[in-house]
Amino acid sequence: MSLRDFALTIASRSWLLSALLFAGVSTAVAQTAPASSSSTSSSSMSGMDHDSMPGMDRGTPAAPATAAKSAPTKGAQATQDMQSMDGMPGTDHASMPSTHSAPAPTAGSNTMHHASMHSDPSGDMSRTRMGPMQGGSAPANARSADYSDGIGYGPMHGMDMQDNAPQSLLLIDQLEAFHDRDANGQSWEAEAWYGNDDDKLWLRTEGERSQGRLGGGDIEALWNHTVATYWSTQLGLRQDMGQGPNRDWTAFGVQGLSPFWFELEATAYLGDSGRAAARFRAEYDVRFTQRLILQPELEVNVYGQSDPSRRIGSGLSDAQLGLRLRYEISRQFAPYVGVVWADHYGRTADLLRDAHQGAFDRQWVAGVRFWF
């Protein structure tokens, strides 16, 4: 990890905590109010209020024109404004709450508002108001994008364009052999999607096999709906496999790309008998060359109640931090080696100890990543 990435990680740690908090809040909400997905996710997300975060400015329609006016005349202003984004890890996450009912991503309420302008209706150019450079919501006087004067398309079939054509991806992110204290085994993590810019069918699976037996794993099928520039909501099902009875869950969450290029997934799960769970996953690429890339990955699982038959205790159950160094022979095919630290906490750790297994483990891994 380069110095930069280390620094950036520190800078964003507060955000990671927020995300974990979010996962926890979702779980709590899920336990008490199994409502429709959108209301649940939006209420749970509102628990992530960044208004109090430093470096952010609430952009109100009545933002003082004077501040805006002075901005363009100051050379240093731009730098300052960019630096005001420092406090930003998290700002964009305000766009996560937007649900389908929201007409537009609602990040504007607490996105960085640095110098920018749009005219006021009088056309007086000196009185300008600053808007967010990314995200935000449309100002009240935003113009229409419709210049048709009511004229429609002609009788012809229209251009044969690709702007709404479905695409598909299969990404085998990890297909690896591991060696840990007790055993050797294999594990996988993969996802696939099919769909257009707005909606996709999204499949995810992960799991591991050791000593010839499926140790644990799950598969998820989700409807992925794009709600903001970098964020999508996900709604669907998860099934757990492996040791103990299989469990089925309803899943809802968000996934996207946070500032500083973290690929994030935060998903809350509701099972039968009042079970609830949450999973948070973050990935990052540290590029040493155009082909040699280090990928740290963090996954955290939280459970609402114990499930001893699957050796799961309530509360923060486990966390895994992986470091995988891959070499992209092509963009689409990369072998890697790495190390994974897996730790179990609280009652989950107790259950493992009762079964004479350690709570902490370190694995050496080697595998391939590929997609098409």
Binding site: S2, L3, R4, P72, G75, A76, Q77, T79, D81, M82, Q83, M85, D86, P105, G108, S116, M117, H118, S119, G123, M125, T128, M130, G131, P132, M133, G136, A138, A142, R143, S144, A145, Y147, S148, I151, Y153, G154, M156, G158, M159, D160, M161, Q162, D163, N164, Q167, L169, D197, D198, T226, T229, Y230, L257, P259, F260, V286, R287, F288, T289, R331
Partner: protein, 574 residues
Amino acid sequence: MNHRFPSYTADLSRRRFVQGLALGGAAAGMGLLRPSSAWALTSPGQPTVLGGSDFTLDIADTPVNITGAARLATTVNGCVPGPVLRCKEGSVLTLRVSNRLKVPTSIHWHGIVLPYEMDGVPGISFDGIAPGETFVYRFALKQSGTYWYHSHSRFQEQRGLYGALIIDPIKPDRHAADRDYVVLLSDWSDEDPERIYATLKKQSDYYNRAMPTAPDFVRDVCEQGISKALAARKMWNVMRMNPTDFSDVSAYTYTYLMNGAAPASNWTGLFRPGEKIRLRFINGSSMSLFDVRIPGLKMTVVAADGQDVEPVSIDEFRIAVAETYDVIVEPQEDRAYTLFAQSIDRSGYARGTLAPRAGMQAAVPEVDRIVQLGMRDMMGAMAMPGSTDHDGMAGMSMGAAPAVHHARTEYGPGVDMHVDMPRTNLDDPGVGLRDNGRRVLTYADLHTVGGSIDAREPDREIELHLTGNMERYMWSFDGVKFSDAAPVHFRQGERLRIVLVNDTMMNHPIHLHGMWSELENPHGQFQVRKHTINVQPAQRITYAVTADAPGRWAYHCHMLYHMEAGMFREVVVA
């Protein structure tokens, strides 16, 4: 923010791929071609030239071998590029275009003012040309100069369906030359373009082989100190944007061609020292802007997009996709000169030679080092007066900063940034060319001879923002893709002003079919008449249009994959 990076064409296997095979011919199936006309160019190895007013063009899949691998190209009369069509202003052209493909096709006559039914955009001007059918285009030529033609069907343009269209003026040419060469630049890929598009949708930085790395950061820290290096990185990383995203598709898959010849094939134009040579540069690429120069020669630009301009002497010019520039050169020495056209992302180049005798060649320069996008490419005028950009360029007068009106639809997932204070100056050659020690052409240097075609002041304005989401590879106007958009209405006969604001960090060459785009300077006065206007990142430009061509017209970004992703509108003049 002038980070410089070494180019990435160093390893030998890549170099061979990028430069192509010396013997790899792009002109296959020569037997299909007609003999050259009376306008035939004066050197061997030239593109086929068809002259007159009556043309028969066959579109078919033809085997080619440009990189060492056999591929099918979509060709006109069996060659890439298609034949040069050379005709006369005032004549009526008849072009019989036959489709020998298994899929529909079309030819659009780029920059030609004609009835909309002859414009060749399937689904807008006509139904396209079905397999096995022949469509007869017929229209009168009311203009002269350097133009081109290309398919407007899916990705056929990327597969080789393009060629030059040269119209000689009725009056004697303002710049009579001893030699006259078409120099058509293009980008070729052995990959299926449908697959390139799908790949961009999955991983939009797939072809970018100049991504910032951790060692780059360490070097920046050493050179600039940690706080500055961190601040620079932070800006891009917070916004989740890439300072080396210049053209989406690079020499990782492209081989850049000059008149269909890969760099190793070295297209050559002959001359005698002392002669005056007219070079008609056409950018027939799908995705590549080129920076063109001829080391050792000054170029005098005499026409832009087919329209004569006041001559301006330069060392280098950037030619956006679909633009054309005519330049005059007068080599005095008995030696070879390299025509060097490096792609904007510096991943490769097209190359040819002007030489007194066949087989000669001159030194080929290295591609320039990559200069990252600067603050002004992200924030427009806001970044310009300050010291953040170090480009040493004076900013525009802030008092004149025009108001920007974002559309309500610009706040959805398809938009990744808003520029609230765009730059409006036309005298910026663009990223990678600023302060490079050469005299580089800018739009501010271009003045159409004779001025505007319509002295009326525009009655109204239509403001459109060029928008996109690079991460998801979505492109649009005002955040609305073509498939979600209504047509844009021009009232017949009106003079209107188009205001374009580029809310992205990429160049977008915007092409209005059927009518001229008369670019204005920042004060609203006529600057130059063009058919394709390149809008730089975070730039606002305006141009006037006389809506005198009733019918339905295409209006779009000429970056092929941006267009296919939805950066497209239908314009209705009624």
